[in-house]
Amino acid sequence: MKYHTYDAVVVGAGGAGLRAAIELTDVASVAVVTKLYPTRSHTGAAQGGVCAALGNTEEDHWEWHMFDTVKGGDYLVDQDAAEVMCREAIDEIYELEHMGLPFNRTPEGLIDQRRFGGHTRNFGEGPVRRACYAADRTGHMILQTMYQQSVKHDVHFYNEFHVFDLILSEDGRAAGVVAYELATGEIHIFHAKAVLFATGGFGRAFRVTSNAQTLTGDGMAVVYRRGIPLEDMEFYQFHPTGMYKMGILLSEAARGEGAILRNGLGERFMERYAPTLLDLAPRDMVTRAIYQEIREGRGAEGKDYVYLDLRHLGKQVIDEKLPDITDFVRTYFHIDPAKDLVPIQPTAHYAMGGIPTDIDGRVVVDEKNTPLPGLYAAGETACVSVHGANRLGTNSLLDILVFGRRAGAHMAKFVKENDLPPLPKDAGERVQAMLDSLLKANGHESVAKIRTDLQRDMMDLAGVYRTAEGLTKMQGILGELRERYQHIGLQDRGSLFNAELVDAVELGFLLDCSEALVSSALAREESRGGHYREDFPKRDDQRFLSHTLAYKRDNGQIELRYKPVVITRFQPKERKY
């Protein structure tokens, strides 16, 4: 085992982790520990845009943005957090521009803005241009810009280090993390005053997903195993337009630029579901509309997909504003979006839930929002909660920036005021024991098969449509998968880039996230945002205007508790578009 000591450790080098690290590096000693090279993080896959009410092309106000965020989230959004995000969005975007991000520009030289789902003018009157963008590679440009700044600020990286455990001191503070170095198989103990988890989502729990192979919910599972709750895990977003069977995302920016959804009969079916916002209604609604069409026999060629129609946009708009998604369609489908209809189906996309935090990124562990000193989370792995029951497009890139920065700033203060917590003697033992047993694993079960079964059943039983029956069945299946997981066999006994071992650990993380999701979903007997219960199709504010907290207890049981939603400006109303 190797030991390192820093003021702060940032786990993850996507947009959230890097934004925090940049904030911290000049004032404290920081290590960024990341299982991928920073520029490989999935923030780079984000396409469409990042929103802020700049008002560059038409009137806009952060209050409108906040309203859209709250309504889009089906009123489960904590409004204090949404207010902070939408207000600070404006300066955050200017700061990104100052850091060099190459936004598309208006003829006057301002940052250009475009339409996106659920973003409206004047509290719902019609679509507004709020998304700042760089063609359809906004996330790529954010990740590159953040990485460029980390080079400039000389941020200290540990690349291809997988964090497998959180260290808590006896007096209940975060004291560091335990990481596995992929290149050597060695265990590293990072001893620190403050720890930030910015490890992204867990889309790989589902069969069809827009998420990278590496998005396996590591940060969530690591803290969950240490007794910290996961919030609102039942709210998982399925993006309407994934490429058929592959799940690769075709950004909402396509519809923002005017693309239309069509069913097998060629109808613009969104007219029936959202007469005002049409194809730009929030994602949960569009996704269910697509499934409804398919269920009623109007899928394309009678199958489980529909079409995205970009043909009328013209070659110039397609090539200039949507070059990457055009390339995906050409490369993988061998068709041309300027001439052909593109087959799409909903794809598992984004975790609204995650590690509960306050507006400074501090992890809070109960219904009274008690912080765990020194522990922070930001980005998709966290739940502030600005997305509530359904995230609006462009709000995640904003979330990672605003709350990445705020977490970094708070950590800077925290490490100045606090000393190093004592390191427990057994800090690396759990991980050592886990590795020892994996390196000996010679059972008959295959990690890949268990994962494939998990992904298939999660998609069918805990995906877009849910029932008590299906979720109960899924709980049983998860029990069986766990049992099988005890009997896996691995071939690679080596210490050099043992990806097979990492795959096995990541499957364990996926099982934990799935378990929290399913239990939380079963208990929530209502439909809200991305959580749709066929047996309880209505929202029920009386019983469920609250956040779920799922705890893993020592005996393996899950305990659910609930905490109130913060409501400031906007009282819950029915959601129509």
């Binding site: 991928l36 090279y37 520029t39 490989r40 993080s41 999935h42 780079g44 896959a45 975007i93 200017y94 521009e97 100052h98 850091m99 060099g100 190459p102 936004f103 598309n104 520009r105 208006t106 003829p107 006057e108 030289g109 301002l110 940052i111 760089a134 063609a135 590679r137 790529h140 440009m141 590159q144 460029q148 700044q149 080079v151 400039k152 290149a183 990278a212 192979q213 590496t214 592959m246 690769i248 990457d324 390339d327 995906f328 490369t331 993988y332 061998h334 295959s446 990690v447 890949a448 691995l490 071939q491 690679d492 080596g494 210490s495 050099l496 880039f497 990806a499 097979e500 795959d503």
Partner: protein, 232 residues
């Protein structure tokens, strides 16, 4: 259909030198080499080493030599490659295991060109202005995903590992031609050095290799011209 992959393997802890190994997997025409590599690692040989993440050509993890050409495994379809495919690690970087190479020299060259916006003026309260034309000037080179396909396809790089290489030049270009940047001269000085742009012999391998369709050779030419005429 059945496809055969012939993969160059090397585990420095066990092997004295690299060797070839063949695998057969079931694949669709629309499947990618990455899908086949996964099939092998998941169901046939758990020790096969390769990197990947996004699986759709956007993260830059899985550049490798496929049928003699640098490509991303996640963007190389059997429909285009046929049913017998050879796979090797990128050339010119030390092999750590199987298809995994040491990327550190590559990133060191990247860092050497000051790949970040330098502008020492007090920024305005809002955004700095930039016209769509100024923005278009460096659009192409903003697409780079640092996959190293270009640099490791360059014969000049193979013979001289100190050559900064196409990717570093592409990333310098991205700032040199950005109207908001003030450090073009510093970067041009670096690129005019012995290991800079003059090592480029305009062979175009880099442009052919780039999975993002960046006109790499053109970018290098533009930098050369900026050095020669001392203006951007």
């Amino acid at each position: 259909m059945k496809v055969k992959l012939r993969i160059k393997r090397f585990n420095p802890q066990k092997d004295r030198k690299p060797y070839w190994q063949e695998f057969e997997v079931e694949a669709e025409k629309t499947d990618r080499v990455l899908d086949a590599l996964h099939q092998i690692r998941w169901y046939q040989d758990g020790t096969l080493g390769f990197r990947r993440s996004c699986a759709h050509g956007i993260c830059g993890s899985d550049a490798m030599l496929i049928n003699g050409k640098n490509r991303l495994a996640c963007k190389a379809l059997f429909a285009d490659l046929g049913d017998y495919v050879t796979v090797e690690p990128l050339r010119g970087l030390p092999v750590l295991k199987d298809l995994i190479v040491d990327m550190e020299p590559f990133f060191a060259a990247y860092r050497a060109v000051k790949p970040y916006l330098i502008n020492n003026d007090q920024p305005p309260l809002k955004e700095r202005l930039q016209s769509p034309e100024e923005r278009a000037r460096f659009d192409d080179t903003t697409k780079c995903i640092l996959c190293a396909a270009c640099t490791t396809s360059c014969p000049s790089f193979w013979v001289n590992r100190d050559y900064l290489g196409p990717a570093a030049i592409v990333n310098a270009h991205r700032f040199i031609f950005d109207s908001r940047d003030q450090a073009a001269e510093e970067r041009l000085d670096i690129l005019a050095s012995r290991d800079g742009v003059w090592r480029c012999r305009t062979i175009f391998n880099c442009t052919d290799a780039c999975p993002r369709g960046i006109q790499v050779t053109k970018a290098i030419e533009e930098v050369k011209r900026a050095i020669m005429y001392a203006k951007v």
